[in-house]
Symmetry: C2
Subunit: 146 residues, 2 copies
Amino acid sequence: MEVHMSQPLADDLGFLLSRASGQVVRATNSALAGHGLRVRQYSVLTLACQAAEGISQRELASVLGLDPSQVVLLVDELTAAGLVERQAQEADRRTRLVVATPEGHRVRETAREDADAAMETPLSLLGEAERERLRDMLTRIWTATG
Amino acid sequence: MEVHMSQPLADDLGFLLSRASGQVVRATNSALAGHGLRVRQYSVLTLACQAAEGISQRELASVLGLDPSQVVLLVDELTAAGLVERQAQEADRRTRLVVATPEGHRVRETAREDADAAMETPLSLLGEAERERLRDMLTRIWTATG
DNA sequence: CCTCCATCGTTGACAACCTCCACGATACCG
DNA sequence: CGGTATCGTGGAGGTTGTCAACGATGGAGG
């Protein structure tokens, strides 16, 4: 027999998750504004920088949890800014690999410092062990749906 | 001396937070669709249900982490659906208290079951102790900025 | 080889959301 | 009484989310 108390919204994980996320996105966005980037663009740029061989837009969408059509615009903007390039792939001419330009790597490096610094305020009450635990839990939430 | 390794995006707490949040919001939204609600409306309705005396829109905005102008629309929609009412406050005639109607309480109760059920999938890999710990951390992230 | 079907990127449309600014009404303080 | 602050509201402009299509390419099977 399960008792169903009306749990306050302040205890609802979904609510807490989206509120905290909004807070962090806001902070990061204003930190990245000086570099002419938004978080989404920064995420794409980061993934492109990490993939030595480049990364397909399909995979970008999958990792970011976005609709592929959103990725198109993000890559368009990054390309216009000269931070990223679309390269043809020999094996499969449908996919276009997104690779970071040297300028892209530079910008991402300096932007990362500001982005990380901006995160320190909201995370100030969490120790390093807790952050690691938080990373682990958030990753599991993501993988739970596939 | 601090070593600055280029941390992968998959370890960035801001990124993990917004991705998990998006996932949960998506799941909850589709669960609430049958009740004619979106998460934001559901959150407002829940807060109105919890506050016996009603709650001001300013406070709603503050708790939800939203701009007050967004709350206006949400309350408008809930009012149109007959789930909530704006009541004048004697003490301060500027503020209008948002209170849930009997119908609002009923809808919120049945909607809550579906919303909670929808959360079970993304949270399936987390035990109850972990969820409690997650609640605590997310709350601290929120309070860290004020 | 040819046909059917899946996948990738892309476009367009539309709703939802966020941010900021401004206004009228009301409250509070001196 | 006058200045200042707060509450709700409205509007503009940009960003994001969702969905349905389309052309181009790839792959499997007859």
